[in-house]
């Protein structure tokens, strides 16, 4: 049994033993869980994948005369301005507004909020065009400028849904090509795509969120971040296997982190053909080895985690499935569906996810990254509510 304080003390003295979750999985057969629990203080996990429910909060600083922004674009991408005067929220999947006039059509079509966020993090200048509301205290009508991350006050990511605990495998049983958030899906089961990294995925190594909670310090895009809240669509009640990992999309997290500290290498705009832009983001989550149970859960292997194969050709809320498949099979590059062999590719970068775990390990080894105690546990009882049309009783009577 160890406490976070004891572990932090060791980190401070650069004496903490930090392993990546890959190392745990490789060595557990040889050393056993108890031995690893004794030996290791922190296990690092990482992820690098498109996470579209991400966005950036920006505060511009006040102009003279001041402006209360009514609408605004950043490199042609609209940002939400319904806050205080010069506060903006730029969403990763927000498309370029074609009423703007920056860049040529084809190139711009594939850019969105994610690319603008990534450009700002990379230190590039971004064109801002704002229209004001024109009030007595904020009389200014328009404001055009170029901003960089250093010319604005706050610039942080607030991502309402990141780090899905497991997900689905997408296929297309129809007869025309589909363009999805998992990339192109070829007709007649031409290919399959999975988006979770399986056994190395952060939340699959703490399936019941025993050690990860609100306030957990994380590595976000190369800087420091925190678990802010449960993520949107957080669904801890998803059906789970014996090892407590969910058999489909489960828990999610809302993450927050200072974008000014982030490294462009770990925050990348991306575009999924004919679907839209998204943000590829590196997230590292440390798992403190408080007891042997923590290690036991981190020992979970790809063969013990499954995801459902979902047919995207039926565009309904509940789509038909072709059963469950293990991550061991998915990572082999081929799966069997109804007796047919289908090529399967990942959407998350497994290579880079491992790199994130190594980056976090190195930061802890250098004594730069201390762990935090969670302030509060994440809810374990959220259901997944579908949205159907309802009418107010009084309206029905009319």
């Amino acid at each position: 049994m160890k406490t976070i304080d004891q572990i932090n003390d060791k980190i401070g003295k650069k004496r903490a033993v930090v392993w990546t979750v890959d190392e745990v999985k490789t060595k557990v057969a040889e050393l056993g869980i108890a031995k690893i629990a004794e030996l290791v203080d922190v296990i690092t996990t990482g992820s690098f994948e498109p996470m579209e429910s991400s966005g950036a909060i920006l505060n511009l600083g006040h102009t003279d005369p001041p402006i209360k922004i009514r609408s605004c674009t950043l490199d042609g991408v609209p940002a939400y301005a319904g806050f205080g005067a010069v506060d903006l929220y730029l969403g990763a999947t927000q498309l370029v507004d074609f009423a703007g006039e920056i860049g040529d059509g084809d190139e711009r079509k594939e850019r969105g909020g994610a690319h603008v966020i990534a450009d700002l993090i990379a230190g590039k200048g971004v064109t801002l065009r704002a229209i004001g509301q024109g009030t007595d205290c904020y009389p200014r009508a328009t404001f055009d400028t170029t901003i960089t991350k250093d010319s604005i006050n706050q610039f942080y990511l607030y991502n309402p849904r990141n780090l899905y605990q497991n997900f689905i495998v997408g296929v297309n049983g129809g007869d025309r090509q589909l363009y999805t958030y998992l990339g192109p899906l070829q007709p007649r089961l031409g290919n399959a795509v999975y988006s979770n990294t399986g056994a190395i995925s952060p939340l699959l190594n703490d399936p019941d969120l025993d050690v990860i909670g609100i306030g957990t310090r994380i590595w976000l895009g190369g800087g420091i971040g925190y678990v802010a809240w449960e993520g949107t669509q957080h669904f801890p009640l998803q059906k789970r296997g014996e090892n407590r990992t969910p058999i489909g999309p489960g828990a999610t997290l809302a993450l927050i982190g200072d974008a000014k500290q982030m490294d462009p290498n770990w925050v990348r705009g991306c575009y999924l053909k004919n679907y839209g832009p998204s943000l590829m983001l590196g997230v590292g989550v440390p798992i403190p080895v408080l007891n042997a149970d923590v290690v036991a859960r981190c020992a979970v292997q790809d063969r013990d985690i499954v995801a459902p194969i979902v047919d995207f050709s039926i565009p309904r809320r509940v789509r038909p499935t072709f059963g469950l498949v293990s991550y061991e099979q998915l990572k082999s590059g081929k799966i069997k569906i109804e007796g047919r062999t289908v090529r399967v590719a990942p959407l998350a970068s497994i290579y880079r996810s491992r790199q994130v775990a190594i980056e976090l390990k190195n930061a802890i080894d250098r004594g730069e990254f201390l762990l935090t105690e969670a302030v509060s546990s994440l809810p374990r009882d959220r259901t997944f509510i579908p949205q159907d049309r309802r009418q107010m009783p009084s309206l029905l009577e009319d």
């Binding site: 031409g190 990348r268 590719a345």
Partner: protein, 134 residues
Amino acid sequence: MKKRVTLTFPKRTIQMPVAYRLAKDFNIAANIIRAQVAPNQIGKLVVELAGDIDELDAAIEWMRSQGIQVSTANKEIYVDEEVCVDCGLCTGVCPTEALNLAPDTFKLNFTRSRCIVCEQCIPTCPVGAISTNL
């Protein structure tokens, strides 16, 4: 030896059974990599020719004499490693497994000799790391 060439057929030669003539007259196996042939239009054929080196040269000379344009400068797929994030999404649409992930490191490998330049990987790549050289 093997040689990959791009053949461009003017409209008047579109009726010629080229693969048959290559086999019969030059003992060359013509493996069609890509083809775009329609009546009354300029045709394009990317073929891998396998045969004796002298026969290959003779065959290319013969095709040129027939008005077929033979180009050995082929379109090739180029993966920019600086931009690529090794997500591997392209590997699922690559029909020949020229693009694959190393089973141990999960880094992207590109085996050029297996590539048939179908270009399906280009729009699939979420970060625009794949292009053709032409």
